[in-house]
């Protein structure tokens, strides 16, 4: 073979960043298309119903309609977005947007149409990623693209389970990129738009507020006030265009009620891996111990997931949690970050701060969905390759949070797909980070900013891991923890059904929640620590 002259040529290296990014996106688009017939959750019918509501009913009825149990509970911009999609849907098949006849409609047409709208709306993610990575060198860009554009979490949640997270997170990334560029007004504007698409993103609003106040509005009374007015006016205009029509109709209370259903419980049906898992577990543990000691502890009647229904507390020993308590806990957890943002509002740190805010919201929030981990895992990818420590943290976090999504796809058919997606992500990340840090000393091609952070972190010494000069090695504790994930999965999938049969069916899920919550807690502490220590 060596004798053969290959018909390869050295020629044009046409790998411009834009082309390469497009290539990354097209590859994953093929995969998304292949996932069309896979399992879809009730969220699919939810969104179909919203198409029908916005198409067949006048605006005044949108937040009142109860034809289907899946009522509209996203802010108005999302409703407008659905209204726009429903025009196309009507062209594809009028039955999709029919309020009654469309119920649980599941022909290929509606499935392919709705799946395709997600793929198309992912273009906002593409643009956000492009803007945020514009200034980086190509090597770093590719690493980040492979983490974000090829994110297994987005594939699982958006393209199998069915949601529009890629679209929404794309808007968040666009806002972050404006802030990083120093175009604060635009950044704030885009964030306000995002809030009117999905209000759950509001957890980061305090950070935005402090940051914009200090970075954009500070400096001189006249200049400061005029800027505050401009920003305030702009945000108010965005909210007015979203909620104005409903305000005019006098329905604002109904809209708010739909958006914030505090009637739901502390935890979602499947417990998101957050702080409250530990709280519930310790309550159970304490009750058990006290009962053994002879105290008379009653078994609570209410469940955590059903929430405020009735007046009974779902906890046996520990005090009961109310939405306002979770709200205060989130703010408390956020305060160090807010303090930092107040003291030194640096654009380079904003991505970390926002990600941290979403982590706090995830850990301590009321009725959190496991899918919300996307809100911080995706933004963190953009700072994941800056230092070795970042990479190690991100490596662990993204694997844990991807794994915590596994219970979403519970059917046998998708089982190999989710496992393979995670495995590929694992390998890709490992080899990507290895190459990234393997070459740092040789090439010295990294940007000055990155270098500074390296020194800063390395001089502090690291938590638990050995920092070698070459390559990417995760520490022993992390390794054991990740190996534990495999054990948890094997237990839940194979050993538990074998040993217990159908008994204690909640056990494997609970185990996943608790085990993943450990990892997310670690990530939260790590982020908190790095934010507190940053200058």
């Amino acid at each position: 073979m060596g004798k053969k002259k290959l018909s390869f040529n050295d020629l044009q290296n046409s790998s411009t960043p834009k082309k390469t990014l497009g290539w990354f996106f097209l590859v994953v688009t093929c995969i998304k298309v292949l996932l069309f017939p896979s399992y879809r959750s009730t969220d699919f019918e939810v969104h179909r119903n919203w198409l029908a509501i916005t198409h067949s009913l006048p605006l005044s009825q949108w937040y009142f309609d109860e034809t289907s149990p899946w009522t509209l509970d996203y802010p108005p911009f999302f409703a407008y977005f659905e209204r726009f999609l429903s025009i196309l849907a009507y062209q594809v098949d009028p039955q999709i947007v029919h309020l009654q006849e469309g119920l649980n409609y599941s022909s290929n047409k509606v499935v392919f149409f709705q799946r395709a709208t997600i793929i198309l709306s992912d273009l906002s993610l593409l643009y956000g990623v492009y803007k945020l990575t514009q200034k980086l060198d190509l090597r770093m860009q590719k690493l980040i693209w492979s983490l974000v554009i090829w994110s297994p979490m987005l594939l699982i949640v958006d393209h199998v389970h069915f949601q529009y997270n890629g679209f929404l997170i794309g808007i968040l990334l666009i806002s972050l990129s404006y802030l990083e560029e120093g175009r604060d007004l635009l950044g704030g504007f885009v964030f306000a738009v995002l809030l009117c698409f999905k209000h759950l993103f509001a957890v980061a609003a305090p950070v935005y507020f402090i940051y914009l106040l200090r970075h954009y509005c500070w400096g001189g009374i006249v200049r400061g006030f005029s800027r505050l007015l401009i920003m305030g006016g702009l945000v108010a205009a965005v909210f007015a265009s979203a909620f104005g029509p409903f305000f005019h109709l006098g329905q604002i209370q109904q809209v708010i009620q739909r958006l914030f259903p505090f009637g739901r419980g502390l935890c979602h049906a499947y417990w998101a891996p957050n702080f409250w898992v530990f709280y519930i577990m310790s309550d159970k543990g304490l009750a058990f111990i006290l009962r053994k000691l002879g105290f008379n502890i009653q078994i609570p009647a209410a469940s955590f997931t059903a929430g405020l229904v009735g007046d009974a507390s779902p906890f046996a020993v520990l005090p009961r949690i109310t939405p306002s308590m979770t709200f205060i806990m989130v703010l408390l957890a956020l305060s160090p970050c807010l303090f930092k943002a107040w003291k030194n509002p640096r654009p380079q740190m904003i991505t970390r701060w926002i990600a941290y805010a979403y982590t706090c919201g995830f850990l301590f929030g009321w009725h959190v969905h496991e899918k919300a981990s996307l809100h911080f895992v995706i933004p963190l990818a953009f700072v994941a390759a800056q230092t070795r420590e970042d990479a190690k943290h991100y490596f662990l976090l993204s694997i844990v949070s991807c794994y915590s999504l596994f219970p979403l796809l519970f059917e046998a058919r998708e089982y190999p797909i989710k496992v393979l997606l995670l495995l590929l992500h694992f390998i890709l990340m490992r080899s990507g980070f290895s190459a990234q840090f393997y070459n740092r000393d040789e090439t010295r091609a990294t940007s000055g900013h990155t270098k500074k952070t390296v020194d800063q972190f390395e001089s502090e010494g690291s938590l638990s891991v050995d920092v070698k000069n070459n390559g990417f090695v995760i520490g022993l504790i992390e390794r054991i923890y990740l190996a534990g994930l495999v054990v948890v999965e094997i237990w839940g999938q194979f050993l538990h059904p074998l040993l217990f049969g159908d008994k204690l069916a909640f056990m494997p899920l609970m185990l996943i929640s608790v085990y993943c919550a450990l990892g997310i807690m670690y990530s939260w502490i790590w982020q908190l620590r790095s934010i507190v220590k940053s200058h």
């Binding site: 053969k4 020629l11 790998s15 292949l34 990507g432 190459a435």
Partner: protein, 518 residues
């Protein structure tokens, strides 16, 4: 997802420009292969979400039901009755028509299915069984066969093929692995349409690898296994025969070598056919099931000589089956004769691969009873040669896909068809890698304008086939157009590869002369 691996020759460009920078620097070959394997697996699992041939289409269903029925028969009926019409085994309903190895494979898979889902394979009751669990288990049998046979065979081939290490090798290897494991045609037929081509093709690849590494006896055994899994593997027989013969003739005791090979082949056949060798009658009974001559020279529309020319010459009307058999047989032999002669004259590893390609192409173009799915057979050696002939390979793959398009439409696999097609081209044209030079010999013959024209035709045919109703008078007009376009391109590809094979001798001689001069 996968494929963080890949091609580049580090001499030419900044490493940073390569899409696959990380594996080239740090990754080992194991990582590369693992990543691509996992990605290929993922794609297979995703394609298997789509419908299979004849899903929800009673009373005969399709290939899926055939395979399931064979599992049902093999685990419920004694081994001697498998190929015999009886009360328990109605041969007119998807009777076994593949050699015994397929039957054994069905038996193993049947046991697997029975363990998890006894209803899926119970005798008679399970006909047309289409439960969720049954479908998944069936899909997993194909994927596991792929992983257990095709993937290791490809690994074996790559190890043999890329023995000597060199700087550019690792990236080439990654690219080649991807081409072999992400072959869209094979994935669509095996995991979409539902067949077990991965087994016979896997054995063939392993046989090729064994022969390339000089283990001719092992190679013959493996090839016999391929032949005993699907009789279509005979498409490669002339190449194996001529290459091995050519090699033997060059040894010290040609007769001894030939008889050794003969004995090994005979032994393998006896071992596989053992349950049917108790009487001549029973062996003939099996044999007659394997050669369905009564089905005519071609069935649906297939891009071979007989089907393409039947527009002008009505072969089926002009000749009876007997003369047609003879005609097609002699046409096949004549067309693969040059390549055989070349291998007998000067057997070489490279020439062997070309020989495989040329003989399978002649069979596809001229033999009796060819399916559109048989394009997988010539496509396999073309993929093995993808590194040497990237441009013809791409051209060949395009039209192989087009030739299967009507079948894919019938099976409801249009979406994976286009997705895999796109994925194939994306991987082929990954940014930051060297581009295939356009002025190779194929474009010399065709001219780049006419090549673009042909590509346009193919695109238009895709669209027309999907959107337009054929005129009532000619219901198969579009199929015929597609097949004729594919046939013309296959003929050009065949000519090209044959010329290439014969040109192999030249540079070697030149190099020898050069060596002597030095």
């Amino acid at each position: 997802m996968g494929k963080n691996t890949k091609k580049n020759t580090t001499t030419y460009e900044d490493v940073n420009d390569n899409t696959w920078f990380w594996l080239i620097q740090k990754g080992t070959t194991t990582t590369t292969f693992t990543t691509i394997t996992l990605f290929a697996l993922l794609i297979r699992f995703m394609v298997s979400l789509y419908p299979y041939s004849g899903s929800g289409n009673p009373p005969k269903f399709g290939d899926f039901e055939a395979q399931r029925h064979w599992m049902e028969i093999t685990i419920n009926v004694p081994i001697r009755e498998w190929y015999r019409n009886g009360t328990d085994n109605d041969l007119s309903y998807w009777g076994l028509d593949y050699p015994p190895l397929t039957a054994y494979q069905s038996f193993l898979h049947g046991i697997f299915l029975r363990f998890f889902c006894p209803h899926c394979v119970s005798l008679f009751d399970s006909r047309g069984h289409e439960s969720y669990l049954g479908k998944q288990l069936m899909r997993w049998t194909v994927i596991s066969s792929d992983v257990l046979i095709f993937f290791p065979a490809v690994l074996y081939f790559l190890i043999v093929h890329y023995k000597q290490p060199s700087p550019s090798r690792k990236s080439d290897l990654a690219w080649h692995t991807t081409m072999l494991l992400l072959n869209p045609c094979l994935i669509l037929i095996d995991h979409g349409h539902f067949q077990f081509n991965c087994i016979s093709l896997g054995f063939t690849v392993a046989a090729v690898a064994a022969i390339l590494s000089g283990k001719d006896l092992v190679g013959s055994v493996l090839y016999c296994l391929a032949l005993n899994h699907k009789q279509m593997s005979a498409y490669f027989a002339p190449a194996f025969f001529s290459h091995l013969l050519g090699k033997c003739l060059r040894r010290q005791h040609p007769l001894l070598e030939v008889s050794k090979l003969g004995l090994v082949v005979l032994g393998t056949f006896v071992a596989v056919w053992w349950p049917y060798l108790y009487s001549t009658n029973s062996a003939l009974e099996v044999l007659s099931r394997l050669a369905p001559f009564e089905r005519g020279i071609f069935e649906d529309y297939v891009a071979n000589f007989w089907c393409a020319t039947s527009i002008l010459i009505k072969w089926k009307r002009l000749f009876a089956t007997g003369p047609l058999k003879l005609l097609s047989f002699s046409a096949t032999i004549i067309s693969c004769f040059p390549s055989m002669v070349q291998q007998i004259k000067s057997p070489s590893n490279q020439g062997f691969l070309y020989g495989l390609l040329n003989s399978s192409l002649s069979f596809y173009l001229f033999s009796f009873q060819v399916h559109e799915k048989s394009i997988l057979l010539p496509l396999l050696p073309a993929t093995l040669l993808a590194m040497e002939e990237p441009f013809i390979f791409r051209w060949f793959m395009q039209f192989a896909m087009l030739s299967m398009f009507p079948l894919m439409v019938r099976d409801g696999l249009i979406i994976p068809y286009f997705a895999l097609f796109a994925l194939f081209f994306l991987v082929l044209n990954a940014p930051g890698q060297q581009k295939v030079r356009d002025n190779n010999f194929l474009s010399n013959y065709l001219g780049s304008t006419s090549m673009h024209l042909i590509l346009c035709c193919s695109l238009i045919l895709h669209i027309v086939y999907l959107t337009m109703q054929p005129p009532k008078k000619y219901p198969f007009l579009f199929e015929a157009m597609i097949m004729n376009l594919c046939f013309s391109q296959f003929v050009i590809v065949t000519l090209g590869y044959n010329i290439k094979q014969w040109m192999l001798n030249k540079p070697e001689k030149l190099e020898e002369i050069e060596k002597k001069l030095i």
